[in-house]
């Protein structure tokens, strides 16, 4: 019998997971903390547009449109409502406008990263970055577990709906108890079973695991690196200028 070796799929996301982490960091520092002031204005614009482009490249149109809609609403508020607001309402408005303006690109980058990174890619990146297992394994479990929590939550909501609104008497405390407690109970039970299944397949037996998933830098990663390097260089030049 001839041996057949499985060829893992070559389909990879555009960016290496490590580049994605770098990008989140840069977004956070640049867009959020206004480092570099006016001098970096154009770079900030580039990094604000970048998450939209990445989401488009990953065909996540819906989140892209939502992001744009939020941005437009904010601009509208800023230029139509804001000039007429006074006192506390104006302060609140400034707070909301700045917070959303600042956090949105970084948040969208986060969405992009979470939606386009496979667990095995994430695992490989964490290993390459020499992160300890005590962080990597729980975070892999989390990625695996989020969809489960969603499934459990939906099933419980359906069961409550079937039993009618009367159920719980509309009291907030009871509603909380009947929603959160079964969700936690079901999730914890599944977690125990997951744990048993993972341990019987040797999780935690050796320190050094194999990983059949390979990650590596491509042209897109290089473009991002160059962009980041240019920004840093320009900023440093500005500091010493």
């Amino acid at each position: 019998m001839s041996e057949e070796t499985w060829t893992p799929s070559k389909k990879k996301s555009l960016l290496d997971p490590r580049t994605k982490l770098l990008l989140i960091f840069v977004e956070a520092v640049l867009v959020l903390a206004t480092t570099g002031g006016e001098r970096l204005f154009w770079f900030r614009i580039v990094f604000a547009v970048l998450p939209f482009l990445l989401l488009l490249s990953a065909k996540r149109y819906k989140i892209c449109i939502i992001g744009l809609a939020v941005l437009c609403t904010i601009f509208l508020l800023e230029y139509t409502v804001f000039p007429y607001a006074h006192g506390l309402s104006a302060s609140m408005l400034v707070l909301v406008i700045t917070i959303i303006n600042r956090f949105l690109p970084a948040y969208l980058t986060g969405v992009y990263v979470i939606r386009t990174t496979k667990v095995s890619e994430f695992k490989a990146a964490m290993e390459k970055l020499h992160m300890p297992d005590v962080l990597t394994i729980p975070m892999c479990v989390m990625f695996r577990f989020f969809p489960t929590i969603r499934e459990e939550n939906e099933a419980i909501r359906a069961a409550m709906k079937m039993r009618g609104i009367r159920f719980g008497g509309g009291k907030v405390g009871k509603m909380l108890e009947y929603r959160i407690v079964p969700m936690i109970t079901c999730a914890a039970k599944i977690g125990e079973e997951l744990s048993a299944a993972a341990l019987t397949r040797g999780l935690g037996k050796y320190k050094k695991r194999t990983n059949i998933c390979h990650i590596g830098f491509g042209w897109a990663d290089i473009v991002i690196f160059l962009l980041v390097a240019a920004t840093v260089l320009y900023w440093i030049l500005g500091v010493f200028a």
């Binding site: 041996e3 667990v119 695996r144 499934e151 419980i156 048993a196 299944a197 397949r201 999780l203 037996k205």
Partner: protein, 465 residues
């Protein structure tokens, strides 16, 4: 060779009750042993002693020796046994660690630090042997229960253990999925693996077994050798309280007496559902269901049986109209008018005691009546227990007690007999008959042919759109 030598075990959770009692068994290499018996007979305990889940997950007191090839294995960590013993568990939804199928197949071998080329070779062999090319590089969450169970088996196979344990692997599978599981077990038999299967549902693997062990209260009740297996009859199974041996597709049991347009039918019109615009799950222009009877809904994998029940109960919005007693009900109006027992009953148990669970289901709380209902389903002594601490069969009966208490005229059931033994299945049948006696209509989705023959009046098939 696996040897159990005078093994006794009691769980810490119930120390007075011995789950295994002075039990001895020798399994030769390459043997396929089916272990069966009523719920709580100790068959899962047997497997847990082998794979190390006892004592790591289930603590208790054990006596006697459990050996593999002459080596005592009690006290060896679970992960140390990985690669030597593989276990397929009951619940397809909880036993995968990765989100993608390929990663899941590699998972065990990666943990054992097997070189990459070897892992890929093993995956290649497994994919070919199990014919799962189409399942590769997929998101496990999007697979059906049967497909998930296939991936679980494949993931064990990549580890190439000598011993394979299966703990009620078919409990959540329909007829076709159980048949494909049979294929995989046949595969393992051909590879010469030592196989131990704990099951209630014995029909799909009965003739594969080299030996059958029937347990009762933790002790050996009957050992059936190969030649006897082939001669075993349906009478013998009922004598031992086992499930039927016959492999009958539920679809072949369709019997639907043409319902006349009278007051005695529930009329469904324009029932269809799609998750997205392109793909319709099912489409039923018109269906009549006999009132006051037990109707089974059968259909192939992916025919949308569960979704059909969810639409009927009003949980999922759609524009189907249900006609009952001259009134028509839209999906919004049906909500709260129909009781549904879900396949995973864990999702519909909310309160801190069995009694409370029944009380909140009543239109008006009436403790006396609630206790009467609990007595009828045989759970009165459990009235103060937390519903989630009960066994699967008991939880099922709590949900049925709630259905009785709700006084609602229509009851929907989704696979009510999955994971139930012979006696429990009959109890469910009795409860349904009693509700039928009150004039209620029962509609159940099921793949269990034995259950259909036991208590269903009508059998309707729904087909994929």
């Amino acid at each position: 060779m696996i040897e159990f030598d005078n093994v006794s075990f009691a769980y810490d959770a119930a120390p007075e009750q011995k789950s295994l009692c002075d039990f001895s068994l020798t399994v030769k290499d390459g043997e396929c042993v089916l272990i069966t018996g009523p719920s709580g007979c100790g068959k899962s305990t047997l497997l847990r002693l082998l794979n190390g889940l006892i004592p790591e997950f289930y603590s208790g007191t054990a006596e006697g020796k459990v050996q593999i090839n002459g080596e005592e294995i009690q006290g060896i960590g679970i992960e140390e046994l990985a690669g030597r013993i593989g276990t397929v568990f009951q619940n397809p939804r909880s036993q995968f660690f990765n989100v993608d199928t390929t990663g899941e197949l590699a998972f065990g071998a990666e943990n054992l630090a097997i070189p990459e080329e070897e892992i890929l070779r093993r995956i290649g062999r497994t994919v070919k042997a199990f014919q799962i090319e189409l399942l590769m590089d997929r998101n496990i969450f999007e697979l059906s229960g049967g497909e998930k169970q296939k991936i679980a088996c494949a993931s064990i196979n990549v580890l190439e253990p000598e011993i394979i344990l299966l703990d009620e692997p078919s409990a959540n599978l329909d007829y076709e999925a159980a048949e494909s599981l049979r294929q995989l077990i046949t595969c393992w038999k051909e590879m010469g693996k030592t196989i131990l299967i704990a099951e209630h549902r014995i029909n799909y693997i009965w003739d594969l077994a080299d030996r059958v062990i029937v347990l009762e209260n933790g002790a050996l009740k009957k050992e059936i050798q190969k030649e006897e297996i082939n001669r075993f009859t349906e009478e013998d199974t009922s004598h031992f309280g086992l499930r039927s041996l016959e492999r009958i597709s539920p679809v072949s049991l369709v019997k639907n007496t043409e319902q006349a347009e009278t007051d005695d039918v529930i009329h469904l019109e324009n029932f269809h559902y799609s998750y997205d615009k392109k793909h319709e799950i099912f489409n039923i222009p018109s269906m009549r269901i006999a009132k006051g009877k037990v109707t089974a809904i059968v259909g192939k994998n992916g025919a949308g049986k569960t979704t059909f029940l969810e639409v009927l109960s009003g949980i999922r919005k759609n524009d189907g109209i249900m006609g009952l007693d001259g009134k028509s009900y839209s999906s919004k109006k049906r909500l709260g008018k129909i009781f549904m027992v879900m396949q995973d009953v864990n999702h519909q148990l909310f309160t801190e005691s069995v009694l409370d669970e029944v009380l909140i289901s009543q239109p008006e709380e009436n403790e006396e009546e609630a206790k009467k209902i609990l007595a009828e389903v045989g759970l009165l002594s459990f009235a103060d227990r937390h519903p989630m601490s009960l066994s699967g069969g008991q939880k099922q009966r709590v949900a049925l007690a709630c259905a009785i208490a709700s006084k609602l005229p229509i009851l929907l059931l989704d696979e009510p007999t999955s994971g139930l033994d012979h006696a429990q299945m009959y109890t469910v049948g009795e409860i349904l008959n009693r509700m039928k006696g009150e004039g209620r209509t029962i509609i159940t989705v099921t793949h269990d042919s034995e259950f259909i023959e036991h208590c269903c009046d009508e059998v309707i098939q729904i087909k994929e759109a």
